[in-house]
């Protein structure tokens, strides 16, 4: 049981708003093993970032994690004191964010921002930390590292900034890396390089990766397991091969059917009619039924559970067994 690196159990995160609480993450459970890459896919707003931020303890007002457990090597991060949690963050687990342009502090040098995390978690002096920072930059493919270390974020391109973020995230050799759409904001050639880098570094260090993306092409390339999220919930979970060969949930089928491999997200979205429901006004029964071409009367009545109808393949659909 304790062999898993990260075990998320019945995690629930809400955002309070004037129209009531938005359940951005609704009763989510999954596991990441050492060296494994688990992808979370789903349309914009389905709660992917909220899930990763909840794991890192980075949900801030008006958001709140209200239930569940986040077990990291067996200890529940949600019940740790801030001080103890900080021994994990940036050290044993770290995160790369969706927004490379704004995720670095504009007034500090790259060297300052990388060495900060090294000095926080390792007992080294300033010089060693800077030396290590240069090494990290070289490892993430920045060739003129000793120059970049003295530069400020605004002097770097988006791709370079994301490399710096990766260098920060990997500086202390984490066991878990959470990458929240690490390439969405970058152009296509840079995307491939960054993903390669993450894959390569995680293989080298046997890092578990939680990779968040909208892009099924990226999933096929990178992931071992896939979690499909819809409106704050997991609707399907299985291995990457099984998901592409045998999708069980009509939503996943929609995503797959409409994805000419490696095409951009926009086209994928348009192929499923309708939009993600407003999380404060969820439809009755299965949240996906208004958009589902297989929906029957029963779908409107009761919310389906996430069921393992096939070995190691979970789907939240009452008709999954029928082989739609």
């Amino acid at each position: 049981m304790t062999s898993s690196l990260l075990e998320v159990k019945q995690l629930k995160t809400i955002f309070s708003s004037e129209n009531g609480d938005v359940p951005a993450v609704n009763d989510i459970s999954f596991t990441v093993n050492p060296g494994e890459t688990v992808a979370i896919v789903g349309e914009s707003g389905c709660g992917k970032s909220a899930t990763s931020l909840s794991i890192m303890g980075l949900i801030t007002d008006p958001g709140k994690v209200i239930a569940g457990e986040v077990l990291f090597e067996g200890s529940d991060l949600l019940s740790l004191s801030k001080k103890k949690l900080n021994r994990y963050r940036g050290n044993k687990m770290s995160m790369i964010f969706q927004e490379p342009m704004t995720s670095l502090n504009p007034v500090f040098t790259i060297g300052n921002q990388i060495s900060e995390v090294i000095r926080k978690h390792q007992r080294v002096d300033k010089e060693t930390a800077i030396k290590k920072s240069v090494e990290m930059l070289e490892r993430v493919g920045i060739s003129n590292a000793s120059k970049v270390i003295k530069q400020f974020p605004h002097q770097l391109s988006g791709g370079m900034r994301q490399r710096v973020m990766i260098a920060i995230a990997l500086a202390c050799m984490p066991k878990l890396l959470i990458a929240d759409e690490p390439t969405t904001a970058l152009d296509v050639t840079i995307q491939a390089q960054i993903l390669d880098l993450i894959k390569h570094l995680s293989e080298q260090q046997n890092t578990g990766v939680l990779l968040i993306t909208h892009d099924l092409g990226v999933v096929a390339e990178m992931a071992d397991r896939v979690i499909v999220m819809y409106a704050g919930e997991i609707v399907e979970e299985t291995t990457v091969e099984e998901l592409f060969d045998n999708p069980k949930h009509p939503y996943t089928m929609g995503l797959l059917g409409s994805t000419p491999r490696l095409e951009v997200e926009q086209e994928m979205l348009e192929a499923i009619p309708g939009v993600v429901p407003d999380l404060t006004e969820m439809p009755s029964g299965c949240p996906f039924h208004p958009r589902c071409k297989y929906a029957i009367e029963a779908c409107k009545l009761e919310k389906p559970a996430l069921i393992e109808d096939f070995p190691d393949h979970f789907a939240r659909c009452i008709r999954a067994k029928e082989g739609l």
Binding site: L58, N86, Y88, F97, T102, S103, L104, E116, K120, I168
Partner: protein, 305 residues
């Protein structure tokens, strides 16, 4: 940076020229000094002689030419009222004004930075509410009232500080607090809103994801960005203090520029007005240049061009 400084310093000269023309014309456009200087009983003859003696019947551009060529040499003319050279009179008041401005700014900053940060961190809490309430009060209370209350309490009742005048540090405390309270109120609100905005930035989330303690997240990552706005408001406050602390100066009989300038305006004391305005303008320009320099030091995104 040196090039920027050089350029800015060169720009001081034309700016001062323009200001000197404006003040020269305005002073003459707003009334006849001769009428004010002569007693009620003066005859028409006296008036003509006086005008002649002061050179006031020359064409305006000739008068300005004489004024500016003298001014460049540091001679701003004789004050009608004091019968002395104007510039030394103005310069004599300068240290008192600057001293008061600096000390009130220090007081205001020392109060506002912790309170502003605190109320941003604890936004919408009772603490935030109390701090906001105090700030509103601090801004709403007129300086003369605060000054008089402070005098009544600390000088008259407790005898802790002198009532008025300039001298040692103990003379400084009450007037500086009087000014500092209002400034602090304004600055606290500004720091609160700046910090609130900054604490929502992505890079703050990144900082937290590194596992560094919240005090460093706030004190280093957030505040270092907030400092840029703090400097902006300090610069604005400082420039307004240099010229405009008349009420406080009056309440505490503080011998600053404000008092001198207002008295000069009332007396139509042209030489003093001209000298004071130009000195204040020079100070404001210097403060602005210094502010720019500090911006450049604080924010690497500003280009050195």
């Amino acid at each position: 940076m040196t090039r920027y400084l050089f350029k800015s310093i060169l720009q001081i000269v034309p700016v001062l020229f323009i200001i000197s023309m404006l003040v020269f014309v305005l002073v003459r456009a707003t009334g006849d000094p001769v009428a004010l200087m002569l007693p009620e009983s003066a005859t028409e003859q006296d008036r003509i002689e006086m005008t002649e003696a002061l050179g006031l019947n020359e064409p305006l551009y000739v008068q300005y030419g004489i004024f500016i060529s003298n001014a460049i040499r540091g001679d701003f003319g004789i004050s009608y009222h004091y019968g002395q050279q104007a510039l030394p009179l103005v310069l004599e008041r300068l240290p008192a004004s600057i001293e008061l401005a600096v000390v009130s700014m220090v007081i205001s900053t020392l109060i506002a930075i912790p309170l502003g940060i605190l109320s941003a961190l604890k936004r919408n809490s009772y603490l935030d509410l109390i701090i906001s309430g105090i700030s509103v009060l601090g801004k709403a209370m007129p300086n003369f009232w605060v000054g008089i209350m402070l005098i009544l309490f600390f000088s008259v009742m407790l005898g802790m500080f002198p009532v008025s005048g300039r001298g040692g540090l103990e003379n400084m405390v009450l007037p500086a607090f009087t000014l500092g309270v209002g400034l602090a109120a304004q600055m606290t609100r500004m720091i609160r809103s700046t910090m609130l905005e900054i604490l929502n930035q992505d890079y703050i989330r990144t900082a937290r994801s590194k596992g560094i303690i919240e005090a460093i997240v706030v004190g280093k990552h957030a505040f270092r960005n907030g400092l840029i706005s703090v400097v902006t408001i300090m610069s604005l406050q400082f420039t307004s203090l240099i010229s405009g602390t008349l009420i406080t100066e009056t309440v505490f009989a503080w011998p600053g520029l404000g008092q001198l300038l207002v008295a000069a305006v009332n007396n139509k004391d042209m030489a003093i007005i001209q000298a004071a305005v130009l000195i204040i303008a020079l100070l404001v320009i210097v403060i602005n240049i210094l502010t720019d320099v500090v911006y450049r030091l604080l924010d690497p995104r500003i280009k050195y061009n």
